[in-house]
Structures are given as structure tokens and as C-alpha cells.
């Protein structure tokens, strides 16, 4: 690792020339490695030996968001970007799968999917054709903290798109036949998901990190037995309780101004009346020490899916920026400690990474890699070694500077598309963050001290509190992992839980 970090040439560092190979094979080059020689015809290529100095940094451009509130309470969020005649238009709902009632996991997902199964005077097919006339298929996502349905259209199609989105939001049909079909489709989709090693890992990850009954402890799609039990009344009840102008935002980004957006909002959504209010943030889960290594048996699988994690932080936590930096050094970048070890040094994996996911409530902190099956033990040892290494080999100034500059400077490049801006606006609403959140983030990343970053690295990436989930060959895992003293191996099979058979006639 040390070698790799020194090789992270900070652009103005002349001493780095000594790390470089000689620019030409001539012997005199190596005689003076400290000072690059002036270019002569004999070594006209010598300028290549050192990376060029950077130019004058441009001003950091961050997206700006504007907000208005209609009389009925509907939030309107806008980010104007005029270069191309494109607009993203989306409805964000504050309630998500965290609002699934106990025993009814998957209800939010099924409810929101039903919005596109008929609305206003149109059935599923007519609605899809109406969107297709505008050149799009609507985009839909359901997450623990909320949901979104939206489209990216040419500017000339915005009005028509909003009329359709208003139908979808205000006048969903919830037809019984469509419900029965959609529910079967959701159940079959669960059968499909339960065949994927990563999906199985995620299910066990959520329940082991948050606990089965925590609002974040289940996948948005639910599980076969919970979805099987859902009724049309459940769906209608959920929508009535949770969807309304005071718990939703209309997001319009791209070739549109705030005034235009407000006019459209009044026209299409001004008459929306429904009593829903913002749901409370889920409570913080406990963070117990690890007792168990969970194993999802998949005999003969060529790779083992390895997931490590624990509860992290909620959005707005004062530790957010320090933890972002610590996570980036540990596993956020390609050049992070974890990936450079598991992928580039050992060749165990195609890629290893780590990320934090601050939510409205405390979200997960995750490290992840798919590793060659017969290297499961060594790869897990290396990964855990990198976790404890955060304490024994504290984050260096160079690592911190690289993460800080890298994260801050990558902001403009991350906001190129109108749908990207729309997604950011939607997240701000769902996590209830202020409109200048990205400026705060940049400021937070800039001012986080080395001591803070080291403190949160040790606090949150504490090896004793990381849950471990492995999906792979059980015999091989038994053989390679049981001797590592990481906890008792316990087999869990979410794909054979009672009820899943019901999806298999």
C-alpha cells in the first residue's frame, strides 16, 4: 500500500521524478534522478518524466435548486439548465418502503407500481402508449425513504407529460384485475431476485444490520410471503394515507424556470387534495458486536459474494463529511485501500468497494466484493485486515488530501444531465435537506480535519461491529472461514423461507 500511495504523484512534487522510470534509456538520465535535466535534442522526450503541473483551477460550479410551495402544500423543486431542450419531470413521494406496515413488506413498492397500471381514463396499455407518444417510458423507483415516478422529455412535451403524471398521481385507477396481475408479476419477480447471489446477500445484510422489524430491515420488494398477503385494499389504504401534496414534491429540472414550473404545477396539481403528512424518520438501530458470520449456501458457486456492514449515519449527521472521506480512502475510490489490495495486488476480485448511504434515518455502511470462491478465506482476511488497518495504519495526509480534492472536484462532472439533477432534487426532498446541501457538503469536505476523519474511521469502521455475510459454496466457506475467529458460521436461506414456495405453483 505504501508503495502505491507514494506513487500517487501530487502534481507539483519534483521529488516524484525519482519514482519514475528514466525517460530515455541513456545512462546519464539515471545519474541525476532528482532534477529533471533541460531538454536537449538527445532527450527531447524528457519532459514526459514528470506529470505536468495543473493549470489555474476553475471556479467550482455547483447546481442550484429553487423551491416554491403551492397553496395545497405541494413542494415544487426546480434546477434550471438551458443548454438543451430537455426537461426531467418527476413526482417524488416522501413515503417509501420504510412505511411498509409490519407483516406487509413490499406494500409501498406494489402500491407505486400500480400507478402505471392505469390512471385517469387510460388502462395500462393506453397509458403506456400515451407516454410512448412523447418518446418515453416512465422511470420509476421505490426506496426506503420514498418513491419517484418521472420522465425525461423534449421541452415541447413537458405540458403533455405533466398532464399524464397528474393522472398517474391524482387519478390512479387501482383496477382489481390489474392489481391481481401486477401482484403475480411482483411475486414472480421475487422468485427471479432470489436466484441472484447478490440479492440474497442484500436481504441477509439488511436483516442482520438493521434487524427484521426495523423499517430499513427488509428489501423494498418485500418477500414472497409478505407480498402474497397483500390486498387491493392494502394498496388503496397505503396510497390514501401516504400520498398527498404535503408529502410530495414536483421536481422539474433542465430547460425550465421556477415561474414556468409553478404555473405548470398549479395547472396540473393545484387541485390535489389529500391528508397525507410527512412520515417520521426511522429510529436509529442498535450496533451490537458481531457474534455470527451469516452464510447463504450456494453449492458450487464460482465466486463468493462478500458483504460487510453496520449502521452508519443519517443525512445531516455532523460526522457525515468526515465519514465520507474515511470511506473514500478505505473503499470509495478505485485507488482505495480495499480495491488496491483485493483487486490490484491479489487479483481476488474484479472490484471491491465501500460506501456510506446516509438516509433520512441512519443508513447502512457497506463494504462489498465478489471474490474467487477458492480465495474466500484469504480475501475475507485481507478485507478485515484493511478495516483494522484504519487504526493500525492511520489515514495519511496524502490519502486524505487525495480523497478531499477528488471528492470536491468531482462535483461539477456529476451534474451534467437533467435526470441527474432531478434525482439530486428528489433526494434533497426525501432526506429533508436544505437547498444549499451541496455547498454545505463541499464546505464540510473542505474543513474536515485529519483528526475528525481518523476518529470516525475508527468509530464506524470498527471491525468488531461489522456484520459479515457470505453467499457461496458452504463447504468451502466452512473450510476457509471457520478458522478465522470471526464468529460462529450460521446458514441462512432467504430463498427457501416459508411462503416462497407459494410463488411456485
Amino acid at each position: 500500500m505504501r508503495r502505491l500511495i507514494t506513487a500517487l504523484v501530487t502534481v507539483s512534487l519534483a521529488g516524484c521524478a525519482s519514482q519514475q522510470k528514466p525517460a530515455t534509456p541513456e545512462p546519464q538520465d539515471t545519474s541525476a534522478p532528482q532534477a529533471p535535466k533541460p531538454a536537449t535534442p538527445a532527450d527531447a522526450e524528457a519532459f514526459r518524466a514528470t506529470p505536468p503541473p495543473p493549470g489555474k483551477p476553475p471556479e467550482l460550479v455547483l447546481p442550484t435548486f429553487q423551491k416554491a410551495t403551492l397553496d395545497n402544500g405541494l413542494t415544487v423543486l426546480v434546477s434550471t439548465r438551458r443548454e438543451l431542450p430537455l426537461v426531467f419531470a418527476g413526482l417524488t413521494f416522501a413515503a417509501g418502503s420504510a412505511q411498509d406496515p409490519v407483516g406487509k413488506n413490499g406494500l409501498a413498492d406494489l402500491t407505486y407500481r400500480m400507478l402505471l397500471e392505469g390512471a385517469g381514463t387510460r388502462d395500462t396499455v393506453a397509458l403506456d402508449n400515451a407516454f410512448a407518444d412523447l418518446g418515453v417510458s416512465p422511470f420509476q423507483e421505490v426506496t426506503p425513504d420514498g418513491a419517484q415516478v418521472g420522465v425525461r422529455v423534449l421541452t415541447r412535451n413537458v405540458d403533455a407529460a405533466l398532464a399524464l403524471l397528474a393522472d398517474v398521481t391524482l387519478r390512479p385507477t387501482f383496477a382489481p384485475k390489474a392489481f391481481e396481475r401486477r401482484k403475480k408479476q411482483q411475486l414472480a419477480d421475487l422468485v427471479r431476485r432470489l436466484g441472484q447471489p447478490t440479492a440474497l446477500g442484500q436481504i441477509v445484510f439488511l436483516s442482520s444490520v438493521f434487524g427484521n422489524t426495523h423499517p430499513y430491515g427488509h428489501p423494498s420488494q418485500g418477500m414472497p410471503d409478505s407480498v402474497q398477503a397483500l390486498t387491493l385494499e392494502d394498496v388503496q389504504g397505503f396510497y390514501k394515507k401516504h400520498a398527498g401534496p404535503a408529502a410530495a414534491a414536483l421536481v422539474l429540472t433542465g430547460d425550465i424556470t421556477l415561474d414556468e414550473a409553478v404555473a405548470f404545477a398549479k395547472q396540473h396539481f393545484g387541485a390535489w387534495k389529500a391528508p397525507a403528512s410527512l412520515p417520521p424518520a426511522p429510529p436509529a438501530p442498535p450496533t451490537p458486536a458481531r457474534q455470527t458470520v451469516y452464510v447463504v449456501p450456494k453449492p458450487g458457486l464460482d465466486q463468493t459474494v462478500m458483504m460487510l456492514g453496520r449502521p452508519g449515519i443519517a443525512a445531516g449527521n455532523p460526522d457525515e463529511y468526515s465519514l465520507d472521506l474515511a470511506t473514500t480512502v478505505f473503499g470509495g475510490f478505485f485507488g482505495s485501500r480495499l480495491n488496491m489490495n483485493l483487486r490490484e495486488a491479489k487479483g481476488y476480485s474484479y472490484g471491491a468497494g465501500a460506501s456510506m448511504d446516509p438516509r433520512l434515518g441512519v443508513g447502512p455502511l457497506t463494504a462489498y466484493a465478489s471474490v474467487r470462491a477458492d480465495a474466500t478465506g484469504p480475501a475475507l482476511t485481507e478485507a478485515m485486515g484493511e478495516v483494522s488497518g484504519l487504526k493500525s495504519r492511520p489515514i495519511t495526509e496524502k490519502e486524505l488530501a487525495a480523497a478531499r480534492e477528488g471528492l470536491i472536484r468531482s462535483f461539477p462532472g456529476a451534474f451534467e444531465s437533467v435526470e441527474g439533477l432531478g434525482s439530486s432534487a428528489s433526494q434533497l426532498y426525501r432526506k429533508r435537506r436544505p437547498l444549499d446541501e451541496f455547498n454545505r457538503t463541499v464546505e464540510g469536505l473542505r474543513t474536515a480535519t485529519a483528526a475528525d476523519v481518523q476518529r470516525v474511521a475508527e468509530k464506524y469502521l470498527d471491525p468488531a461491529t461489522l456484520q459479515i455475510i457470505l453467499v457461496g459454496d458452504p463447504l468451502l466457506i466452512q473450510e476457509q472461514v471457520s478458522g478465522l475467529n470471526l464468529g460462529k458460521l450460521m446458514a441462512v436461506e432467504p430463498d427457501t423461507q416459508p411462503g416462497s414456495a407459494s410463488a411456485h405453483p
Binding site: T124, G135, F334, E344
Partner: protein
């Protein structure tokens, strides 16, 4: 999750085949926003340069396409073009091992990646404007001096990384091995598309440092590459920098593209494969179709959209909504330089047989062979392509951004600004031409039919596979 996609393999990437240069055409009213102003020139060593200014954000994309892909691999070396791509991130004469991506990351670069497809390989990064020179330094060093830093150890590590990539995308991916079997039937050896870019474990194991050397010397010359710089930059200064970093790189005449006999299916090939990863049966039907931009390619796109895009599409409506036999449908024309592949996938509901799905699909296709599709369906597809094409121009770099768009047309037709002609192809698609395409190309007797069916639920534990 940048780390997980870096140096990704793009199996379904865009093709690159240089045909004769075409004239740029003005855009129709209403489509002006699709125009991309650019300047193109060639250095004396043969390197093509495309510059396009876009001052929306203080970032600039550097994007290099090499006119080499899986198509140019030697027999017994499937997967080599892609393995080679990984080696391009492992250091060169003046760039230390494993520094390329970390250095860019710490400067705030985004969209850092390399991808290999059947016909070309590309490398790109989007950097804050003040680091443009660093990106040019990095790209020029590996274009000129990769072999100085090549070691057998680095090749051995990247071979393992790529084998893990294959395990992730093929062995442990739903339908991965079954799809590979179907692909092999479409492109039997010695066709260079046979290896599906990722290649076989055996061939990856066989690759030597000597192979890396000769592949580099043959295909990675400036004369076989195009450099695009797109974004917020000063044109005159950038031209000088390009001259400084790329002008003196040694080169040789542009290598000629190998001739490969096209393949043809003379009878239906039925493959029944036990599926070990996915839990739902998959029916996948594939036909060999005309290459990218050849006659019939655009018609195939429109038909694929009408058949499988959206809930109102013909197959989704009949199989998922009306009969409820299928879980999902996906239809694509995968346009490639030598020959394309039209793929029709249907995932069954639990308990539904793929043979039952095949009957239904054939009924839908037979109807189109007799009656074509409607003008309305064609119009919707066109509006979709217009919107999608415009949206693709929002990003200057990355997958399918402006730089890729310019590069793709440049490689394929020799004209970077070919958007108008590309979209005009769809204006010529008619109900009749779709009907003829379905009748003459999507023939029942010239296709690969894959049934990938998982064993009954509660399968007996599989013995651990032999490991190598």
C-alpha cells in the same frame, strides 16, 4: 461505486468500422440541438484528433478510441483485446504501476474507464479543466510507451482480475453460461466474435507477455487511434498540447483490417441448457442480422422497439399482460461491425414452459411477417430515438456521451457529425420494410433458440466444481 465499474467490459458496445467518409448533413428544423460543432485533423504520425467545445461546465473529456477489438484477436486468444485493455491501466514508461486511475480520481476526474467491444477499444476520463494536460500526459504515455513497464507479474494479476470479471458476468450471472452457448452457435470458430469479448478461461490462461507486446506493436499505433477532446478548453492551447504529447510518438502505417468470412445459419439450432443460477426459465431467440449502418439495421431497431419496449409493445402486451405467461420481454438489435445479432428474450412466469412461450412468440412474429407493424408504432419509435439521442449529448464524456458519439460516427462512417443521417435512416422505415425484414431475416429456419431452464425447485446440492 466507481471502483466496481472501472475497466469494465462492454460486450454490447458500439461497433467501429471505418467505411468511406460521408458528408455531414444539416439538421432538420426542430433537431438543431442535435448538432455537435467539431474540428477534425490528423497529425503526421497518423493520429486523428477531434475537438469539440462545450462550455456548460468547467470540465473536459479526453477520449481515445483504438480501432481494435475482439475482431482482431488471434485463434486461441479469445478475450485478449479486453485483457490487453486492463494492461493499459498498469503503468507505462513514465507513469508508475497502478497510478493511472488513482491519480485521476484524486484530481476530481469522473467517468474514468476503458471498454472493449467487438470492433474497438476505448479509454476515457472527464477532468476539471485545469487538469486537461495531465489527462493528455497519461493517455500519450500509454499510447507510446506501454511496453517499457510491462512485466509478467502484472499480466498474471490482471489475468486473475479478468477471470473474476468473467466469473461475475458469465459463470455466476443469471443465464450467463447459457447465453454464451447460444453465442457460440451464432459465431462458430474461427469467427473472431466467438469469444464474446470476455473470452474463455483457457485462452485467458494462455496469454503471454509476448502476446501483449505483439498486439501493442500491431494495433496500438497513433495511426490506428483517434483522440477526442470535448468540453471546456482553449482550442489553440490544446492543439499545442496535443502536438507536444502525441506529435512525436512513433507510428507505422495504419494496419489493415483482417478479412473475415461472414457466418450464416442454415438451419434452426436448438439449445436446451440447465440453468444453475437463475430461478426462472428463459427463452432466447437470436438471428444474425445486417451489420451496423447496413441496410436493414435501422429497420431491425424499429421492430425491436415495437416488439419489446414498453408495456404496450406487442410481446409485453400479449405475453405479460394478456396471457400472463411471461415475466419480462427484452428485444434488441445489437449492431456490430461485422454482423449484428437480433435477440428476443422472454423470461417465463414460474411453471410456464419455454416451449409454450416459443409458440406465442412465433404467433406474434408470423403476424408481423404477414401484416407488418403500424405507422403509429414506427412514429413512436422515432420520437423515442430523437429524445434518447439528444439526452446522450448531455454528458461530454463517459459511456455514450458526446465524445463517444463523435468517435462512434467517426470510426464507423468517417464523419463525426453524422447524427442527422443516423436519425434519417429511421425516416425510411415503413410498415412494409418491417414486414419484409421479419419475413426474410427473422426466419424460423435460421435462428438459434435457447431454452435455459432451471432444475425443479429444491434442487439437490451440486458437488463443488473442480477448481483451478
Amino acid at each position: 461505486m466507481k471502483a466496481l465499474v472501472a475497466a469494465a467490459l462492454v460486450v454490447f458496445g458500439l461497433p467501429a468500422l471505418a467505411l468511406s467518409a460521408q458528408e455531414a448533413k444539416p439538421l432538420e428544423p426542430g433537431r438543431e440541438a442535435l448538432a455537435i460543432p467539431y474540428e477534425k485533423y490528423t497529425l503526421p504520425n497518423g493520429l486523428e484528433v477531434i475537438l469539440s467545445v462545450d462550455r456548460k461546465l468547467p470540465v473536459v473529456s479526453v477520449n481515445v478510441w483504438y480501432h481494435v477489438g475482439a475482431y482482431h484477436e488471434q485463434p486461441g486468444r479469445t478475450g485478449f483485446a479486453h485483457l490487453f485493455e486492463h494492461m493499459m491501466f498498469q503503468g507505462s514508461r513514465n507513469v508508475a504501476d497502478d497510478v493511472h486511475i488513482p491519480m485521476l480520481e484524486q484530481l476530481g476526474a469522473t467517468d474514468i474507464n476503458g471498454t472493449t467491444s467487438f470492433d474497438r477499444t476505448n479509454y476515457f476520463e472527464t477532468v476539471p479543466t485545469h487538469h486537461l494536460e495531465t489527462a493528455l500526459w497519461l493517455e500519450s504515455d500509454r499510447m507510446g510507451f506501454l511496453l517499457d513497464a510491462l512485466t509478467p507479474e502484472k499480466l498474471a494479476t490482471q489475468r486473475e482480475v479478468v477471470k473474476n470479471e468473467r466469473r461475475q458476468g458469465t459463470e455466476t450471472a443469471p443465464y450467463g453460461l447459457a447465453r454464451e452457448a447460444a453465442w457460440h452457435a451464432l459465431f462458430p470458430l474461427p469467427h473472431p466474435y466467438h469469444g464474446a469479448v470476455i473470452g474463455s478461461m483457457k485462452d485467458l490462461d494462455a496469454a503471454t507477455p509476448e502476446d501483449v507486446k505483439s498486439f501493442f506493436l500491431q494495433w496500438y499505433a497513433p495511426s490506428n487511434a483517434t483522440l477526442a477532446v470535448v468540453g471546456d478548453f482553449d482550442v489553440a492551447k490544446t492543439k499545442a498540447l496535443i502536438e507536444k504529447y502525441f506529435g512525436s510518438l512513433p507510428s507505422h502505417p495504419k494496419p489493415t483490417r483482417p478479412e473475415v468470412a461472414s457466418v450464416k445459419l442454415s438451419k434452426p439450432v436448438v439449445i436446451r441448457q440447465e440453468e444453475r443460477v437463475a430461478t426462472l426459465p428463459l427463452l432466447s431467440i437470436q438471428w444474425l442480422t445486417p451489420g451496423y449502418f447496413q441496410e436493414g439495421d435501422a429497420t431491425a431497431d424499429v421492430l425491436a422497439t415495437a416488439l419489446g419496449t414498453g408495456k404496450a409493445s406487442r410481446l409485453y402486451r400479449r405475453l405479460v399482460l394478456d396471457k400472463q405467461l411471461a415475466q419480462s420481454v427484452n428485444v434488441t438489435q445489437q449492431s456490430e461491425g461485422a454482423q449484428s445479432v437480433f435477440t428476443l428474450d422472454v423470461v417465463a412466469r414460474p411453471g410456464v414452459s419455454t416451449d409454450a412461450l416459443l409458440k406465442e412468440v412465433d404467433a406474434v412474429l408470423e403476424d408481423i411477417r404477414r401484416n407488418g407493424i403500424t405507422s403509429e408504432e414506427i412514429q413512436r419509435a422515432r420520437t423515442r430515438y430523437d429524445t434518447r439521442t439528444l439526452a446522450g449529448l448531455q454528458s461530454i464524456g463517459g459511456f455514450g456521451g458526446k465524445a463517444d458519439v463523435l468517435q462512434n460516427y467517426n470510426h464507423f462512417v468517417g464523419e463525426p457529425s453524422y447524427v442527422a443521417q443516423d436519425l434519417a435512416r429511421y425516416e425510411t422505415v415503413t410498415p412494409e420494410s418491417v414486414k419484409l425484414f421479419a419475413r426474410d431475416t427473422l426466419r424460423p429456419d435460421a435462428r438459434v433458440i435457447l431454452h435455459a431452464v432451471p432444475p425443479a425447485r429444491k434442487q439437490a446440492p451440486v458437488e463443488p466444481k473442480e477448481r483451478h
